[in-house]
């Protein structure tokens, strides 16, 4: 669209002549003014300019003091090795800066402050410092009160002051983060191998390498830390032999009190691990008694026990950290090779096996293809899951998978294309592309779901026997007013990497949109994590307090995702109301340095919390060192959802337009099984859901982890099938079975629908818009994935289909989609033509 056209359009829109208002209109309107006018709630804009200045000056003064406190922090840190000044200082800054608390401290000079944590106690100097600061704040508030009291006869002033006095007392904040332990004078030389073993912001892959759920492994083949080249290979089904245990080194010197505390907690942790191990052993024995699929192998990495904060974690993982009664634990990396190996290894370290989730035992659909990571952004992490092959119905007539309503892959790909690059193949998950769009399937009249099925001759088939079939599962709608109140815990990554591309700014605006949409009975808490996790705000109703807390987040330090998540989960489990939706909303670029415990422990905690009804929504931000795999896996393991926000409009889509669907889960552990009729269908191929595979026999096993569906969500599954010739209209082609745990009914329900040959459209052109759009989106995905099945695609036809969809339903998403298709095809054509 040219500038000229645009200007012309603006002119047309703007210069519409209007008649003068009717003569009696004003009188009518003024008659309508009610006799008693409701009082408008006063807020800051009603304060007179002069007073506003005074207020501003006072607030600036307080902020200045707080900033000074911040700048002095590192210095104090060295001086006071207990390190408690850090969180306590932050809390005090919270209290000091808050305009709410300024008012209330005058009435209640006791600033409620509790400090919890291992050896957490304010020493005398700290306490007196806190008291003197409290006094300063109280003094300032007194001045403020006085200035507000200056004669100003207007009644509004009076009301305002009354309200100021009646302001609720400051929220009680609890400091739950532990004291950091940083020795600034210590320098540790670490070689390249040691660095690569450490999960850091630049190589979070080590986290995933050890997760049994992830089926791929990465081999570094060159490059440096900021731009590693790598190859992705399928993980071997047998674990590598255990690395030789590192030599134990003497424990580092530490102050006596530290050592005691450390040993205490170490012993406790050790006991915990031992108990856990014994439990697992018993469980494994039970499993063995039934039938054990050829020695499930798990690689567990339990990183060193307490002590190091994220700042020291690199060194901590390379070096031995602690001792227990003379036994030195180096690192607890142990590889179990069979259940009988369970016990303690030579060093006396407990071996903690994990029982792989059953899903991970299902045979992978295909192996991953090995491709070098040629992403235009450095350090991007995606996991390739291959592409489903055609399957003969004679071999396997059942196609079983867990539902997936994530949409992140679509936005991630969009982000690449809008930047003029093709997304990496592994970033494409076709089901997430297809499920991004609203197909307008009718909602069920009763019950949780409506099943729809349709089909048409395949537009990309080589011959007449192929059909495209679309099954959709449409969840019931829940009105915003009908959902239970929600207890949301925002867990926000404020590490240094969130500073890039103003990611944190986008997070703030996105959360701002979400806050606006919340009901008065919803509550929000805020946890941030950089080097340490920190609870900034407990669960509160007050939207202004929440907005304020969100706005003042700043990025800093390393990334201790684990601590942030743990704090968030603890808060949700401890303080969440029974019956409320309890949800963690993790906002991060996925760059994670998991802190002191291994990934298994995060996932274990997440799963336990998921069983207690706390769900996790991961929202990805940023590109450049983005970790798609971690974000997706976290959401998968936690009954959660995964979305990627590339701009504020996408945030609006998730948090405003679909908020109820995002928050209200209507079905848990939902699985789909499509049963193809071998009499009529010879082969089938499922488009997407490669990493959602469920073993056929597990469809009715409710212990198997599957997917969750939110209110109003639609899950769409596309198949390409080959049918036998000369079928009757009444021949059944396939039956879709849906099995889910109904949140409303509190029981597992199964429903099904059969697709008859006669229900298919006779030609592609006569197929429904829904089917055509879904097939077009899938083809777009297949092309981006460079799928074998789309190698001979017709670019012009695809462009035309996408444009047609945009024209048919003037939906912004579809206009965008047509644009993305054009961009993608142009990029592919350019990459295929020989460079000049």
């Amino acid at each position: 669209m040219t500038t000229h056209e645009e200007r012309e359009l603006e002119r047309l829109l703007a210069t519409e002549e209007t008649p003068a208002p009717p003569a009696d209109l004003l009188a009518r309107l003024q008659d309508d003014i009610p006799d008693t006018l409701p009082v408008i709630v006063a807020n800051d804009t009603t304060i007179a300019p002069r007073q506003r200045w005074q207020l501003a000056a006072a607030v600036f003064g307080v902020i200045g003091a707080a900033l000074l406190a911040w700048t002095l922090r590192p210095w104090q840190h060295v001086d006071e090795p207990t390190g408690l000044s850090n969180p306590a200082m932050v809390e005090r800054a919270v209290v000091a800066e808050s305009p709410v608390s300024e008012r209330s401290t005058a009435d209640a000079p006791q600033v409620p402050m509790r400090v919890r944590g291992g050896d957490a106690e304010l020493d005398d100097g700290e306490a007196s410092d806190a008291l003197s600061r409290q006094a300063a704040v109280a003094e300032e508030s007194a001045v403020l009160e006085e200035s507000l009291a200056t004669p100003d006869p207007s009644i509004a002033r009076e009301q305002e002051r009354a309200e100021l006095r009646a302001a609720s007392p400051v929220e009680e904040l609890t400091v739950t983060s532990e004291a950091p332990e940083i020795d600034l004078n210590r320098v540790v030389e670490r070689n390249r191998e040691a660095r690569q073993e450490t999960p850091t912001a630049s190589d979070p892959w080590t986290i995933l390498r050890n997760m049994p759920e992830v089926r791929g492994d990465r081999i570094n083949v060159g490059g440096n830390e900021s731009g590693q080249s790598s190859r992705i290979v399928p993980k071997p089904s047998v674990a590598k032999p255990a690395p030789p245990p590192r030599m134990a080194k003497p424990p580092q010197p530490a102050s006596p009190s530290r050592v005691n505390a450390q040993v205490g907690s170490e012993n406790k942790r050790f006991a915990d691990l031992r108990r856990e191990a014994q439990q697992l052993e018993a469980e494994l024995k039970k499993l063995e008694a039934v039938e054990v699929p050829a020695a499930p192998v798990s690689t567990v990495e339990a990183a060193p026990a307490p002590g190091p904060s994220a700042d020291t974690v690199n060194e901590a993982e390379a070096e031995p950290v602690s001792s227990i009664d003379g036994v030195t634990i180096t690192d607890m990396k142990v590889v179990g090779t069979s259940p009988s190996a369970l016990a303690y290894d030579d060093d006396g370290n407990p071996i903690v096996p994990t029982i792989p989730r059953e899903r991970s035992l299902a045979a992978p659909s295909t192996g991953g293809s090995a491709e070098p990571n040629d992403a235009p952004y450095g350090d991007m992490f995606f996991e390739p899951y291959g592409t489903n092959p055609f399957i003969d119905t004679e071999d396997d007539r059942l196609s079983t998978f867990a539902v997936d309503v994530d949409t992140a892959s679509y936005t991630v790909a969009r982000r690449y294309l809008e930047g003029g690059n093709l997304p990496p193949k592994a970033a494409i998950r076709i089901e997430e592309l297809v499920n991004y769009f609203d197909y307008g399937d009718p909602a069920p009249e009763e019950g949780d779901f409506a099943l729809h099925a349709e089909g048409a001759p395949s537009p990309y088939a080589q011959n007449d026997d192929y059909r495209v079939v679309r099954f959709s599962v449409r969840g019931r709608d829940v009105a915003s007013a009908d959902r239970p109140p929600a207890d949301l815990v925002f867990v926000v990554d404020v590490s240094g990497s969130m500073d890039r591309e103003n990611r944190l700014g986008l997070v703030k605006r996105a959360l701002g949109l979400l806050i606006d949409e919340l009901r008065p009975d919803d509550r929000v808490a805020l946890v941030i994590y950089g080097s340490q996790g920190q609870v900034v705000l407990p669960l509160v109703h007050d939207k202004n307090a929440i907005r304020w807390a969100v706005d003042r987040m700043t990025s800093t330090g390393a990334t201790n995702a684990e601590e942030g998540l743990v704090l968030g989960y603890d808060l949700a489990v401890r303080d969440g109301r029974p019956g409320a939706i309890k949800r963690i909303i993790l906002c991060s670029d996925g760059v994670a340095n998991v802190g002191r415990t291994g990934p298994e422990s995060i996932l274990q905690r997440i799963r336990t919390a998921a069983d207690m009804g706390v769900e996790l929504t991961t929202v990805g931000f940023g590109m450049g060192n983005y970790n798609d795999t971690l974000m997706e896996q976290l959401a998968n393991q936690s009954n959660g959802r995964y979305a990627y926000v590339d701009d504020i409009d996408e945030a609006e889509r998730i948090f405003v337009e679909n908020l109820t669907g995002t928050l209200q889960t209507i079905a848990a552990e939902a699985k789909i099984q499509v049963d193809f009729n071998p009499e009529t269908v010879t082969r089938y191929r499922l488009l997407g859901y490669e990493n959602r595979d469920v073993a056929d026999q597990d469809f009715r096993n409710d212990a198997v982890d599957a997917g969750e569906i939110g209110a109003g969500h639609t899950v769409t599954a596309l198949y390409e099938i080959k049918v036998r010739p000369d079928l009757d209209r009444t021949d059944a082609l396939a039956t879709i079975h849906l099995r889910w745990g109904s949140v409303a009914e509190g029981q597992v329900i199964e429903t099904s629908r059969t697709l008859l040959n006669g229900e298919l459209a006779p030609t592609w052109e006569s197929a429904s818009d829904r089917l055509r759009l879904a097939a077009t989106v899938a083809e777009y995905g297949e092309i981006l994935k460079r799928s074998y099945w789309a190698k001979d695609f017709d670019a012009d036809r695809l462009r035309a289909e996408a444009q047609r969809a945009a024209n048919r339903r003037r939906d912004q998403d579809l206009v965008d989609f047509a644009d993305l298709v054009r961009r993608a095809l142009a990029l592919i054509e350019r990459s295929q033509s020989p460079s000049p």
Binding site: L9, P19, I33, L37
Partner: protein, 186 residues
Amino acid sequence: MLEPRDERRLLDALATGDRQAAETLVERTYAQTYRSLCRLTGGDAELAADLTQDTYRRAWIAIADFDRRSRFTTWLFRIAYTTFLNHIRRPKRVESIDDHAIEHIERDEREPNAEDRAHENERDSRLRRAVLALPDNLRFTVTARYWGEQSVADIAKATSVTGAAIRKRLKKAHHILQLALEEDAA
């Protein structure tokens, strides 16, 4: 027109229950509200007057919730816009306006002097129909900007997004409208 200074003064006075202030607020804003509704209804003067009256009735009910974070006129336009949508889609659902309702208004609006204005208005009404068929957030942005005479900054404030996001929306809307007009012309 209502200057920000006067707006603040009048709203302060209104907060104390000053009826005179309420009357002045109406006097200063009603012409603009009426104009926006004329454009929304496609020039139906009588309907616009009725809807204006409706808008202010709702505004007096809702005034206690007005948090003054956006301009008064922007807030008022939002009410006028909702009032209009409620009128045309009653008792239909909220997301999109169906063609039937739009045609219905179009018939109404053409009745008085349909013949002589028909040709001149054709492009206008096609454009209007295209605007009303936009997705809701674009539709509000476009109507507020051009028909409600609101500045980009004021719309941004009222919808809690940035000015850049509003401009981005306008651009997207332009694109869709252009497509719609071209398609109709073809």
